[in-house]
């Protein structure tokens, strides 16, 4: 096998499996396209290159959106490589098939199944193929470190280290077992010889690759587990970082857009002549469901758009109303038989025997993402080729979508990944309306355009976290433990992880099911997805049961978690950090909640103060998280802190309501987010149980709304079953 193919293999080596039938495919020639002939750097692996001067460059196939992945992933690779961290450079991998995130497919597809080493190569290639075919280069699901990092980066680093060791041993004519590595060097202690990685890199590429190299014992880590500074912060504090909205191209014009106000509405016509003569205006473009003005500047485009007479057709949903949907939810919950996803024991019988079951219904609204950088996309069509610059959680899918809209071959489309001014799910492949709009306009004009959505468009034409209700019924036995847990929730779509409604508690009879309903509202993945709902539902209700049983909510939960040591550990720790059990002053209260999601287990505790007239102050939040292993504790803590703020803001104020088919809220004046003044003191601790590595980007979100509601109950006896909690004057509602 030639050198190029070996490189190709490393690239695929980081990828996924399942399709063992592909086992006999040769390692594809086309992967070796990326061998970069004429480049003085030498590729040891797709995700790693070592230059003759010893600089190690790691190509990260995931988007940086603030989660620190451009630091954490290279740390994992550098650790196994035994690299010298200051010599490590990080680059965003381009949006090309060879960087398809096969590890994600493997991670989600076959879990932690240990692949026999003889099959590894084939499995990897199969995984790569699948990822490539579905254009998958996704950053989401708290998956980067779990899959690309653990399955890909680590192995690439370890495999490369082996090659360097082999090359050194051959050069010195010594046994490989006599050699060792340290900070970017191979050493041969018996003779005192040493050689830098850069010096060995070329020879190493001719060595034979071990596709399943052993990984380091954690006790020997020098890079992972340390709070190393993020590599990309200097550019962020000086303003030199270029987000999608900062792209500037020669001759570029700016585009402002107004969508049909009602979901699925149509732009029938517009009177372009009315604005054509206005300063700077270049074009008026009517899209199927929107109108666009292209002008020299964004302000000019916005002004002209405001004055542009447009006729929209409302389509079928001009009467849709989220208030009525709520009533429909009640109807659903009391009517149709649910689809049952989990059943333990004899739930129906036990429930039927319950005289007077404890019952509660919880409710949550639609939510928008509101990334700080409004969605935008820059596109340029020239000479039959389309270039796209945009913040996306999946550059490959963006390329495929762009090609589809422009009716071009994928090869004719290039996506230039840029850092994202926030993601939270908004820029995932199923939510690319902002790319589609920009591409359509770019195909009609001879210059590059940058389309920026106003904040109003961004909030009113998002893909929303589903609204829903969840009904619980339970009965407590004579030992005060729950005998039955019956939960039925509304499912209006985007409810793929049915496990999110499961509970870790030992309750002998359980039934968990859902009733389905369709709405015209575009739905989207929103940081922590289903867990953002069920975390509030289930952890509120378990708290209600504890109070019914007259028990302390902490010890009640612990009593139901006998066989769950990891859950018990995080719960106890979060409670300790808050000082659980100290007698509360009047008006103060503490609440707890626990969730298992994205492979991690997280408990949060909240302390609040509430006045008699409902004025609420969230004072402190503590979190204890067991993600198995922590790569960079400082980045990890930042993710949890951010998740807590995200979840708290939503619990307090977040609501998208729809009237006459139109989103009511439009900007931060009516879609409020948390600000510094409202932000509690937050303490985060990690428990590294050594279990399989879990995600962190989303796990801070799910428990916090319930912990807050539980704290309010403890302080005031008011049970909040409906989000958001605050109404006018920022006082607690009902």
């Amino acid at each position: 096998m030639g050198k190029l193919n070996r490189r190709a293999f490393l690239a695929s080596g980081a990828v996924l499996g399942g399709g063992l039938l592909l086992a006999y495919f040769a390692i594809p020639k086309r992967l070796s396209l990326h061998a970069d002939a004429g480049d003085d750097r030498l590729f040891l692996a797709t995700w790693l290159r070592i230059a003759p001067d010893g600089a190690v460059t790691v190509l990260v196939p995931h988007a940086e959106m603030g989660q620190g992945v451009h630091t954490a992933l290279p740390m994992m690779l550098a650790e196994e490589l035994d690299a010298d961290w200051p010599q490590v450079r990080v680059e965003q991998a381009p949006a090309e098939g060879v960087y398809a995130v096969g590890d994600l497919v493997r991670g989600f597809g076959i879990g932690d199944w240990r692949i026999p080493s003889a099959l590894l190569r084939q499995v990897d290639y199969a995984a790569y193929r699948i990822a490539d075919l579905i254009h998958m280069q996704t950053t989401g699901g708290s998956s980067s470190v779990r899959f690309t990092g653990h399955l890909g980066m680590r192995r690439a680093g370890a495999a490369a280290r082996n090659l360097l060791l082999q090359a050194a041993a051959r050069r010195w004519q010594v046994g490989i077992s006599e050699c060792q590595t340290d900070s970017g060097h191979v050493l041969h202690p018996p003779s005192g010889r040493s050689a830098g990685y850069g010096d060995l890199a070329e020879a190493a590429a001719r060595e034979r690759l071990d596709p399943d190299p052993p990984l380091k014992a954690r006790a020997r880590y020098r890079i992972c587990g340390r709070p190393l500074a993020r590599v990309d912060l200097p550019a962020l504090v000086t303003g030199s970082a270029r987000f999608g909205i900062d792209i500037r191209l020669p001759g570029m014009k700016f585009a402002a857009i107004r969508h049909a106000p009602v979901f699925d509405g149509v732009a029938v016509s517009c009177d372009a002549a009315a604005v054509r003569g206005l300063p700077g205006v270049q074009r008026v473009v009517k899209l199927p469901s929107a109108v666009v003005v292209v002008a020299d500047g964004f302000w000019q485009a916005t002004n002209a758009l405001r004055g542009l007479p447009v006729e929209f057709d409302e389509g079928a949903h001009g009467r849709f109303n989220s208030e009525e949907l709520t009533k429909e939810f009640d109807h659903m919950l009391s009517g149709a038989d649910p689809t049952v996803d989990a059943r333990i024991g004899q739930p129906e019988a036990v429930l039927a025997a319950a005289e007077d079951p404890i019952e509660a219904v919880y409710e949550i609204p639609f939510l928008a993402h509101a990334t700080m950088e409004p969605v935008n996309c820059t596109a340029w069509f020239r000479d039959g080729k389309l270039d796209i610059w945009t913040g996306t959680q999946d550059p490959l899918a963006t390329r495929a979508r762009g090609a589809q809209i422009a009716d071009l071959d994928t090869d004719a489309v290039t996506v230039h990944p840029v850092p994202l001014g926030g993601g939270f799910g908004r820029r995932l492949p199923s939510h690319l309306n902002y790319v589609e709009d920009a591409v359509r306009v770019a195909m009609e004009v001879p210059f590059p355009i940058q389309m920026i959505w106003s904040r109003e468009e961004d909030i009113q034409h998002d893909y929303y976290r589903p609204a829903g209700k969840s009904r619980f019924r339970a009965r407590i036995g004579s030992d005060l433990r729950p005998l039955i847990w019956d939960n039925v929730y509304t499912d209006i779509g985007l409810n793929e992880d049915r496990d999110a409604a499961l509970i870790p508690y030992d309750i002998p009879n359980q039934r968990i099911g859902r009733v389905r309903h369709k709405t015209p509202v575009p739905l989207g993945y929103w940081r922590s997805v289903e867990h953002s709902m069920h975390g509030f539902f289930t952890e509120s209700f378990v708290d209600e049961l504890a109070h019914r049983a007259g028990a302390d909510p902490l010890s009640y939960r612990l009593g139901l978690l006998k066989n769950r040591p990891r859950h018990r550990a995080v719960l106890s720790r979060a409670a300790d950090l808050l000082g659980w059990g100290t007698a509360p002053e009047v008006g103060r209260g503490c609440g707890l909640a626990l969730c298992e999601c994205f492979g991690s287990i997280v408990a949060e505790a909240v302390q609040i103060r509430v006045s008699g007239d409902g004025e609420l102050r969230v004072e402190r939040v503590t979190a204890a998280v067991d993600p198995g292993e922590v790569i960079n504790p400082d980045i990890a803590a930042a993710q949890i802190e951010g998740g807590i703020v995200f979840g708290l803001g939503a619990a307090l104020w977040g609501r998208i309501s729809i009237e006459q088919g139109r989103v009511v809220q439009g900007n931060f004046s009516d879609y409020e987010l948390m600000r510094l003044a409202d932000c509690p003191e937050i303490t985060v601790e990690f428990i590294e149980s050594g279990a399989a590595i879990g995600g962190l980007g989303e796990v801070g979100v799910p428990p916090v709304a319930a912990a807050l509601a539980n704290a309010i109950f403890a302080a005031s006896g008011r049970r909040i079953r409906r989000l958001p909690m605050l109404g006018p004057e920022r006082r607690l509602m009902g």
């Binding site: 000086t238 303003g239 987000f243 700080m372 106003s454 703020v645 900007n667 004046s669």
Partner: protein, 149 residues
């Protein structure tokens, strides 16, 4: 309308409608993209610059209003070396996505210029910028570092 604007200690000739918000003149005419667009209604602070040393949300300031003023953007704040606020922001590892942070840094820099020892309450009142990533804990930490030095 043609006029001159003093930005980051340089006089720049501008040709723009006088009602254009300063934000777009900075980002598009002058190509200084460190100042960000977040809401366009003065509600988020991403577009904060200094006008005669005072923090202003440039998305709601018509450019005519600053024609004879000195404007500083993030590019001018730490032009020669990092401003102490920028350094503290790195020391406390504040930014996540970073999109809001140039506006936050400009706000804090102006605030500390005026009052080097702000109380928590002063801060809460005056630092009302939005950060969707939720970096407020780190902002507080960075400001504590600044207070100490």
């Amino acid at each position: 309308m043609k006029f001159k604007l003093m930005v980051n200690e340089q006089v720049r000739p501008i040709d723009a409608d006088e009602a254009t918000p300063l934000l777009w003149v900075i980002r598009e005419t002058l190509g200084l993209t460190g100042t960000k667009f977040g809401c366009g209604i003065g509600a988020c602070g991403a577009c904060t610059v200094h006008v005669n040393g005072r923090p202003m949300r440039s998305c709601v300031v018509p450019v005519r209003a600053v024609a004879s003023a000195a404007v500083t953007t993030i590019e001018g704040l730490g032009a020669s070396s990092m401003h102490p606020v920028q350094q503290a922001w790195i020391d406390a590892q504040v930014p996540q996505c970073g999109y809001c942070q140039t506006g936050v840094i400009m706000t804090v820099a102006a605030l500390l210029e005026e009052n080097p020892e702000p109380s928590e309450d002063d801060l809460a009142r005056q630092l009302s910028n939005l950060c969707r990533c939720g970096t407020y804990t780190r902002m507080r930490k960075a400001i504590r570092i600044l207070r100490r030095s």
